[in-house]
């Protein structure tokens, strides 16, 4: 894992001191809320429906046991004993008091964490593959490149006031576990003729106007990707629309001028930028890479696993993935217990996971964009002990990528922007499909719920997407089908008029039962069936019209 150097620590400590002064001046009414609001947002502090919410950055979703234990301490000391992992691999605290926020940030800084650039029109937390460094199918560990992007984008003077927020994801596998085609910039590390470089997507995004990104370069050598990103951001910063917040994202610029023209402008800009030596010196890259060195694996670790406990075997089959190192495995911790709040974890659960990471997983925890956690390097011989401890804490639900592994934004239960509640819809759907055998029969099915058009719940990328809307002060829900955030990315399409909360749960069940009826067999995923037969049979089942 990357550890701060003196410069990293100094700028984070300085920001805490600066914010402490700003908070004191606001509490003393020396500055107005209009003056203060952009300052607190730059430090990830939002005012939500019931209280202040603090969003803490987890760079590319990776943290240590010490850091997770600090987050548990924050939950206990400054919040109400729990926190919420987000679709940007960050963590949010829902009940923060303004006067205590500087002390909280000072405590975070002691473990090399902060909330900088988790809000505002700047480059947000760099996201990545939760299996990075462990995946058997990656060409190299993408995290050193994500870390360089973090350093490049932190306090970047030219890109602190972009037309709108900006999100970058980095992966290194053909299997996309980070939804890169739905990012402002998506970077896939590839190997070409023995050399490492990035395939570059630009202009993807969700929100009000969902779009898939365009490939604007098949290959940029890794030694040049920072200057290439600089060129992309410069074009966007210059021509992105600042006159209309709904048209300010880079996807709108790419759409309006066309991907070919956008590419031409980026290449022209890069021709100017590249000679300026903005790319990281090889020595700096080498310094970072050493911090992501492979952990000291037990080279004698056994590949065999005792599957005699049937409950453990179910979890093993569903939540554990192959690791590149023989004798090791990747274990995903579901934060989606049936009827629970997707992405929420109590302080006690966070402490336990920190303990398990330290004891069994080389002191690393990953956050997934699907709001689960990952222990990326677990000896196969230790999996049973890990599962036993997780099960005792309600953290061993064997539902990864199944119908009950639902992404849901905080929605109207917490969020000031939301139009409708998301969490209860996710809970009711999960409860409807409690039967594990039924879940397994349905197979891979990604349901994603957003409480407003901003799409924090990624409903556009859901195999089944649900969007909460406001109908004259009451909640209603639109149903969409056919989205994907994976390497086969697609945008879900609304299939018809909306529903009440109870109605949308019934509609989801009808859609799923229709899938079971028309699929070629259990091996055909919901998404593949939808793509093969189209929306007609699903629409007929839901609305009672002829297929």
């Amino acid at each position: 894992m990357y550890r701060y150097d003196g410069y990293d620590q100094a700028i984070v400590d300085a920001r805490v001191a600066e914010f402490r002064d700003q908070v004191q001046r606001r509490l003393a009414n020396e500055i107005t809320e209009d003056q203060f609001k952009p300052l607190r947002l730059m430090n990830g502090l939002y005012l939500q429906l019931h209280a202040y919410m603090l969003r803490v950055a987890v760079p590319y979703g990776t943290m240590s046991g010490t850091q997770l234990r600090m987050l548990a301490h924050i939950a206990r000391t400054y919040d109400r004993g729990y926190a919420h992992f987000t679709t940007r691999q960050n963590i949010q605290f829902n009940w923060i008091k303004l006067a205590e926020a500087p002390d909280l940030l000072a405590e975070l800084a002691t473990v090399e964490m902060h909330a900088i650039q988790t809000s505002g029109n700047c480059i947000r937390n760099i996201s990545s593959d939760q299996f990075a460094g462990a995946a058997a199918d990656e060409v190299a560990d993408p995290r050193p490149y994500a870390e360089l992007l973090r350093q490049w984008s932190s306090f970047h003077p030219e890109f602190s006031y972009l037309p709108r927020k900006f999100k970058i994801a980095v992966i290194a596998s053909d299997t996309d576990r980070a939804a890169i085609q739905l990012h402002d910039i998506g970077l896939q590390l590839v190997r070409r003729d023995g050399d490492l470089g990035f395939k570059v997507w630009v202009g993807g995004g969700m929100g009000r106007t969902p779009m898939l990104g365009h490939v604007i370069r098949d290959f940029i050598p890794v030694a040049k990707y920072l200057s290439y990103c600089e060129a992309i951001l410069r074009v966007y910063n210059r021509f992105g629309r600042r006159d209309n917040i709904y048209k300010a994202r880079i996807k709108i610029l790419v759409h309006e001028i066309g991907a070919a023209e956008f590419t031409r402008q980026v290449e022209a800009e890069w021709a100017e930028v590249e000679p300026l030596a903005l790319d990281a010196p090889a020595a700096e890259y080498a310094r970072i890479v050493t911090q992501f060195a492979e952990p000291p694996y037990d080279l004698a670790a056994s590949d065999s696993i005792d599957r005699s406990d049937p409950d453990f075997a179910v979890w093993l089959d569903q939540n554990v993935h192959r690791h590149k190192q023989p004798g090791y495995a990747i274990a995903t911790i579901s934060l989606k217990p049936i009827g629970g709040i997707p992405g929420d974890a109590s302080a006690g659960q966070m402490d336990l996971i920190a303990d398990l990471a330290e004891r069994y997983a080389f002191d690393e925890i990953r956050v997934t964009h699907s709001q689960n956690l990952v222990l990326a390097h677990v000896r196969k011989a230790d999996l049973y002990a890990v599962w036993t401890a997780l099960a005792a804490a309600g953290l061993a639900t064997p539902n990864l990528d199944l119908v009950t592994d639902i992404i849901a934004c905080p929605g109207l239960d917490y969020c000031a922007l939301a139009n409708a509640r998301s969490i209860p819809v996710a809970q009711r759907i999960a409860e409807r499909f409690t039967d594990l055998a039924r879940q397994h029969d349905i197979g891979e099915l990604k349901i994603k719920v957003s409480g407003c058009i901003n799409a924090c719940g990624h409903h556009h990328a859901g195999h089944i997407g649900i969007l909460g809307v406001d109908r004259k002060g009451e909640e209603a829900y639109q149903l969409s089908l056919g989205g994907s955030g994976a390497e086969d990315a697609s945008l879900a399409r609304i299939i018809g008029p909306g529903f009440s909360e109870a109605g949308v749960v019934d509609a989801v069940e009808k859609v799923i039962e229709t899938y079971r009826a028309v699929r070629t067999g259990p091996a055909e995923r919901f998404l593949d069936t939808y793509r093969r037969v189209g929306e007609a049979p699903f629409k007929a089942a839901v609305y009672g019209v002829p297929a």
């Binding site: 429906l49 019931h50 008091k97 303004l98 239960d413 917490y414 139009n419 409708a420 509640r421 209860p424």
Partner: protein, 92 residues
């Protein structure tokens, strides 16, 4: 229809309701600000101690004011998915 004055306190972000003499944490204490609403709102905004101050429509019921929109009812009650943190569990 009645009108309520509400907002979030600067210090804690807590949802508060104008009760006729001051700010209450409890929706049940909220009073109809009627024709004085705009004046009270302007005064609240000028004082800079309550954020996101606003007037909201509600219906008077025997159990107390019931905001017209689901959003304000959730604000008044608390998260419906964490009834242990909810000020008035149940009806939103």
């Amino acid at each position: 229809m009645i009108r309520l004055l509400t907002g979030n306190t600067l210090e804690t972000g807590d949802v508060v309701w104008w009760d006729g003499t001051g700010w209450s944490l409890h929706l049940v204490d909220a009073v109809d600000v009627g024709a004085e609403g705009d004046m009270l709102l302007a005064r609240t905004l000028a004082a800079e101690r309550i954020n996101d101050a606003a007037l909201v429509d509600a219906v008077a019921t025997p159990a107390g004011p019931r905001p017209r929109t689901i959003r304000e009812r959730v604000r008044g009650a608390g998260p419906t998915v964490r009834l242990d943190l909810n000020r008035m569990a149940g009806d939103v």
